[in-house]
Amino acid sequence: MTDTAPAIELKGISKSFGPVQANKDIAMRVMPGTIHGIIGENGAGKSTLMSILYGFYKADRGEIFIGGKEARITDSQSAIAAGIGMVFQHFKLVQNFTVLENIILGAEDGPMLRPSLARARGVLKQLSDEYELSVDPDQLIENLSVGHQQRVEILKALYRQADILILDEPTGVLTPAEADHLFRILDNLRSEGKTIILITHKLREIMEITDTVSVMRRGQMTATVKTAETSPGELAELMVGRKVLLQVDKSPAKVGAPILQIENLRHVDSHGVERLRGVSLEVRAGEVLGIAGVAGNGQSELLEVLGGYADATGSVTVNGKPLPLTGTGADGAARRKTGIAHVPEDRQTEGLIMPYTAWENTVFGYHREPEFQSGMLMDNAKIREQAQDKMTRYDVRPPDPSLPAKAFSGGNQQKIVLAREIERDPDVLLIGQPTRGVDIGAIEFIHKEIIRLRDTGKAILLVSVELDEIFALSDRIAVMFDGQVMGERMPNETDQTELGLLMAGVTERPGGDPIKAVDAALEQKEQREASQHD
């Protein structure tokens, strides 16, 4: 092997899923010891391409060369044998297995478990020391934070002696501090001579760590450039195919009286783990209160409690009227009647019924309103008519109300949910991850809508894991960690670093290594959850 042979070379890779052509004739070269970024809109085909490289899917056509030699990657086993490891967007871990068991799964030494486990324990110790990847080998995955789960995924790959590591959107679930830590690990790995492919939507990350970057659009590889020779604006344009505004225009908020008041809210989940531990917040008319935090720190539960589908103690008032937090009257339908609308975090499993048509979905949750009834039956004709109107006004594409929700792209699904919730003219709008998995074009539209609603004097509670989004939309920012509000900040008086530390449970800027403080806080959280888990 000469040192000029690329670590990975793809030639003419094509793949279609039925009528959808996910990858079209793709070529790509990655040199050893480099980090190669891949960016592209949702559905551009990035994950598909990487899954092909990892043998998870089989390409319809095309060739793969690893270290200059043609590799026949027919399944994950052969990819692993070729030295490829992959960390998927959605982790592939067995939740009720220990870390150690997950590490050895599929890479055991022999038919008996004990020797494999013993050896793995040693190797794991060594790897964690070497790459700052510490994680308790005997902990169950379900008790680990997402950040630690990701470490397990990386360890899995390293345990299999991967030389090529693929990471699919690894930072979406991490605090900024954790992301920094991850990049340090990746840096370490690069200096060890490993090759890394990094898929991300965040242009900042591409600029920060990659050596080269490829842009994908509609299944094709549209450009490959040296990172040093490009700019975020250029990359964004390459991705979408037009100029994009990366900032939201917004006037200062005209804040009115408090609408939503939350006092000492507590919630225990079905496993007995306390997820909200005395949350107090206030949202006033005409402002956006942004809740920052890493997924799994109680934001989802906060939305569920406010949305009426999780029990809690404490007090919540809307316009001074207290809401029941348990029993009858504490459900989504009752909340809607009190003027709370809710765009849930997960549009596909909560906000929409995927097999239902768009028009059926436009009344979901409001289907018992008298205006949609005619006698004993639902007034489907009227619902359909109104749906058509909403879809036109919210620029849902295609504007066909009789298509099932699953036939729309993520951004358009989100628009349907937004249209439904905003059109009811609520006093309070709860909105979770408004642009998760939505590409730049749709983000623009959704952000504008949220600001427009704010300007009509509504109280908006925004939950997002994207700090950029929090900064772009919020008039006030609250940070949640481990079921508690760590602090409130005004957006112009803080920065990403401070919020990042708050998100990891660190309230004062530590003198020493921030990573240590973050790790300690995370560990405390994990221990509490594990001890309460029944």
Binding site: G18, G308, Y309, G332, A333, P344, D346, T349, M354, F364
Partner: protein, 364 residues
């Protein structure tokens, strides 16, 4: 995702599946030394070529429509109600009680009251499993299976110890009074010179079953309740978000499901036997599951699938009459139909999809 036109999925896939089941059945018939063509002719002749044959076919069809709808309601709510059998048994008890103990002036009144009784008893029998599923998370498949056994014991106790007339051998009730007897197809359609449907058990409950299909369609696709049941079936988390109570939907859907199963007893108990016998349900509860699956939980599909199974039952009876083929052959054929249309339908669908995608490419 439109890989295949909807009509192909709804019509072509089941048709090919049935064909495969038929071919395999023919092989089984050959293997036991009989002639499959002759057997098939006999079945068609006996089930479809005579009005009395139709009378039987439609009688069975009625049963399967009710149990099929029963399974379908549960399917829409993503539940597997294997308890149609027990619910129908207990529904029969309801029918028997009102028929025996209320002096009815006319069958129409009797039918109306019996519908309520059958539905209520069947629903009641579904209530406990539903409640346990909704509140305690006890798996409804297991609890409904258990409730089938328990229903059988209850019915046995009631028939042997309470409702059996003195001295009668049969674990069965006395014959219902004249006024509760439902008009059969013969009563309705036979004329002096054209003795249609002679002696066959099809009766007015067939129309009730058809009505139930229509009502089912309205319920599922035109009412709020149906909207909520289907939504619940697609996504439990979404339903919670919308403020629809999963507990309520689980229980209501199962009550409707059990009620429909119970109404099957109108056909067997009031319409045919005119008394309650021990094994009046005869596995129709299980067939209902296959019917609902084949019919894609849609009333039109359920009607057609029920007709197919009705034909199988009646055709099978004719086979038993005129050949030496053991009756278990029919069980085997049913098993094959369920297997191919229910469990192995992807075996047919996957190649078909590929075919349609290929054809689509050529067109494009």
């Amino acid at each position: 995702m439109d890989k295949m036109p909807a009509w192909a999925d709804a019509v072509l896939v089941p048709l090919i599946s049935i064909l495969l089941a038929a071919i395999l059945s023919a092989l089984v018939i050959l293997a036991i030394g009989e002639n499959p063509v002759e057997a098939f002719n006999l079945m068609v002749e006996g089930a479809l070529m005579r009005s009395a044959g139709w009378g039987y076919t439609l009688y069975y069809t009625t049963n399967f429509i009710f149990t099929g709808l029963c399974a379908a309601v549960a399917f829409h709510a993503k539940m597997f109600n294997i308890g149609g059998e027990g619910q129908a048994m207990i529904g029969g008890l309801g029918v028997a009680l009102v028929c025996l103990f209320i002096p009815f002036p006319h069958w129409t009144v009797a039918l109306l009251v019996a519908i309520v009784a059958a539905g209520a008893f069947g629903a009641l029998w579904a209530l406990i499993p539903a409640y346990l599923q909704a509140k305690r998370g006890s798996h409804i498949v297991i609890t409904t299976i258990m409730f089938n056994f328990i229903a059988s014991a209850v019915l046995n106790y009631v028939l042997v110890n309470l409702l059996r007339p003195q001295g009668a051998m049969d674990p069965a009730t006395a014959r219902f009074p004249e006024a509760t007897q439902l008009p059969t197809f013969q009563d309705m359609f036979a004329t002096a010179d054209n003795p249609l449907f002679r002696g066959s058990p099809a009766n007015v409950t067939f129309f009730l079953a058809v009505l139930a299909c229509v009502a089912f369609w309205f319920l599922m696709w035109r009412t709020r309740l149906g909207y909520e049941i289907r939504a619940f079936g697609h996504s439990e988390s979404a339903v919670k978000y919308a403020g629809i109570s999963p507990v309520r939907i689980t229980i209501v859907a199962m009550l409707i499901s059990g009620g429909l199963a119970g109404m099957m007893a109108l056909n067997t108990t009031m319409g045919e036997a005119e008394r309650l016998v021990m094994n009046a349900t005869e596995g129709a509860g299980f067939i209902g599951i296959a019917v609902a699956l084949m019919g894609r939980s849609h009333p039109v599909g359920i009607f057609l699938a029920a007709l197919l199974f009705g034909f199988l039952y009646q055709g099978g009876a004719e086979l038993a009459l005129w050949t030496n083929i053991p009756r278990e052959l029919i069980t085997v054929i049913q098993a094959l139909v369920i297997l191919f249309t229910g469990a192995l339908d992807n075996m047919v669908r996957m190649p078909l999809e590929r075919l349609f995608v290929a054809l689509g490419r050529k067109d494009a």
